[in-house]
């Protein structure tokens, strides 16, 4: 339990650093460390597969792309667009709504749920694979179609349209 509290403290600390640091590249690096602490959390929960996939996909691929874009952008204080007060106000309200939703969601979760305790090895690759391809086959396949849709959409957006002449 002490390990959990220590890692949880680190997660929150680095998450706050991600928000408060001024340099965008530092911000991405703190986010990478935050994801790493999530990996440690998954290992503590005996969810090996989720841990290593979080490591590969979030830390190894998505954050590299974030860093990639930031390096090309050359963000300085001069070029930083100032957000209007209206946007800031809306952001604060949206954040509060998210917080309220999370609090409500966590309140109804029963931590001593029998389902979780009966399958404590569910996070190992073998068990997870069996469950995904038998009990949850339909949601699994539908989510793969969702990902395919997103991919096709991204390709479509990135593809150059032939320029249409006006007048």
């Amino acid at each position: 339990m002490t390990i959990f509290y220590f890692v949880a403290f680190l997660s929150i600390f680095f998450a706050l650093m991600t928000i408060f640091t001024k340099n965008p590249v530092h911000s991405v690096l703190y986010l990478v460390i935050t994801f790493f602490t999530f990996t440690v959390h998954y290992i503590l929960l005996n969810a090996q597969f989720l841990a290593v996939v979080n490591f590969i996909v979030y830390m190894g691929a998505i954050m590299v792309l974030f860093l990639f874009v930031l390096m090309l952008l050359n963000l300085n204080k001069d070029t930083e667009p100032m957000k209007s007060n209206l946007v800031k106000f809306m952001g604060a309200i949206a954040g509060m709504c998210l917080l309220a939703t999370f609090l409500g969601a966590f309140k109804v979760i029963e931590t001593d749920n029998g389902m979780v305790q009966a399958h404590e090895n569910i996070g190992l690759v073998k068990n997870l694979g069996k469950v995904l391809f038998s009990d949850f086959l339909l949601p699994f396949e539908i989510s793969s179609i969702l990902l395919l849709t997103a991919m096709v959409g991204a390709v479509l957006l990135a593809k150059k349209e032939p320029r249409v002449k006006h007048g």
Partner: protein, 346 residues
């Protein structure tokens, strides 16, 4: 977990670490010797017998050179870059099985640091992390050539990781486990080597390993004809040394991975027919494993002095339009063969 177990693992870690560093050191010498051999000249032969002390001299030179951090560089990230590169290179060897169990007295010692049951995925995680070292170093240098080298490294590594993962999936369909220790144990003898079941998968994996190690013909991140020195243009002294060293360690680790996943690891033909005791089989097996690794390292160097570098668009076309479709076809083919085998030949 008793103390003896911890001490045993600690000794194993230190041995693996030292062997990795020594092999990386002597790879630099071997590279120059092989280059000399291929270009019909001697190569370094002044320091010691046949130039055997050359890596030590190079290391000493790196340590004693002046350390320069450019004025416009981002200091902490400039130091973090090579540090990350060498750390990620060193930790990936933790899940590679160097041999079977060795029995000393009544203790049996497994010659593998950590037999985790997601070993293959662990390797992928570490490879994915490896690109941060190059990217941070390149960006922190505040030099456009370094930045271009870093960006090339990142996009190359991400592109080839996909094909590498897909080629591994076909292998996992055959072996049905993610533990590298178990994958190697399955390949006992000679006919059970995975290369016979997955020849196409091996070729894809090897090509991607070349690209992930930034070796010729995929060394676009440090392409000196276009980018001065690529991502490490601004680096000097041991920080440059660490980047070069991590490249050689990566080469060693990917060679051992290829030998373990596809060429039977510590298994050799007729290993149980010679009437040797268990310990001797383990020791010979480990030696054979290193022999296979050296073979792959030689192959890496052979390619370096044979093929010219790709152009960048050729590199991307090869990765996305050739290797990925080929790897997917390999997965489908493996699936069909497995089903046909199960239904008609059982």
């Amino acid at each position: 977990m008793d103390t003896a177990f911890i001490i045993e693992k600690l000794i194993l870690v230190v041995i693996v670490f030292v062997i990795t560093l020594v092999i990386a050191m002597y790879s630099t010498l071997a590279e120059r010797k092989i280059a000399g051999f291929m270009q019909d000249r001697h190569g370094p032969d002044r320091a010691g017998l046949f130039g055997i002390l050359q890596p030590l001299c190079d290391g000493g030179k790196f340590f004693f050179k002046e350390e320069i951090i450019p004025a416009g560089a981002h200091k902490s990230l400039f130091i973090l870059g090579p540090t990350l590169a060498i750390i990620t290179a060193c930790i990936s060897s933790a899940v590679i099985p160097w041999g079977q169990t060795l029995t000393i007295g009544d203790r049996s010692i497994l010659l593998q640091v950590a037999d985790v049951n997601i070993g293959v995925l662990y390797i992928f995680g570490v490879i994915a992390l490896g690109v941060y070292g190059i990217m941070l170093g390149g960006w922190a240098s505040n030099n456009k050539f370094s930045l271009m080298g870093a960006i090339r490294a990142a996009s190359q590594s991400i592109s080839y990781e996909i094909a590498m993962g897909l080629s591994i999936i076909a292998l996992l369909m055959v072996t049905q486990t993610l533990s590298i220790g178990e994958i190697v144990a399955q390949q006992s003898g000679f006919v059970n080597w995975n290369i016979w079941a997955q020849p196409l998968g091996f070729l894809i994996f090897m090509t991607c390993a070349f690209a992930e190690c930034n070796r010729v013909p995929f060394d676009l991140p440090e392409c000196e004809t276009e980018l001065v020195g690529g991502y490490h243009t601004e680096y000097s002294s041991m920080k440059l040394g660490l980047y070069m060293f991590s490249e050689y360690i990566n080469m060693f680790v990917s060679s051992s991975l290829m030998a373990a996943l596809y060429f039977g690891g510590y298994n050799f033909p007729f290993m149980y027919d010679l009437g040797l005791s268990e310990n001797w089989i383990t020791i010979i097996g480990t030696l054979v494993f290193f022999l296979k690794i050296f073979g792959f390292i030689f192959f890496f160097m052979w390619i370096r002095w044979t093929l010219p570098r790709f152009r960048y668009d050729q590199l991307m076309n090869l990765g996305w339009k050739m290797l990925i479709p080929l790897a997917i076809a390999n997965i489908v083919l493996t699936g069909i063969i497995t089903i046909v085998k199960d239904t008609y030949f059982n």
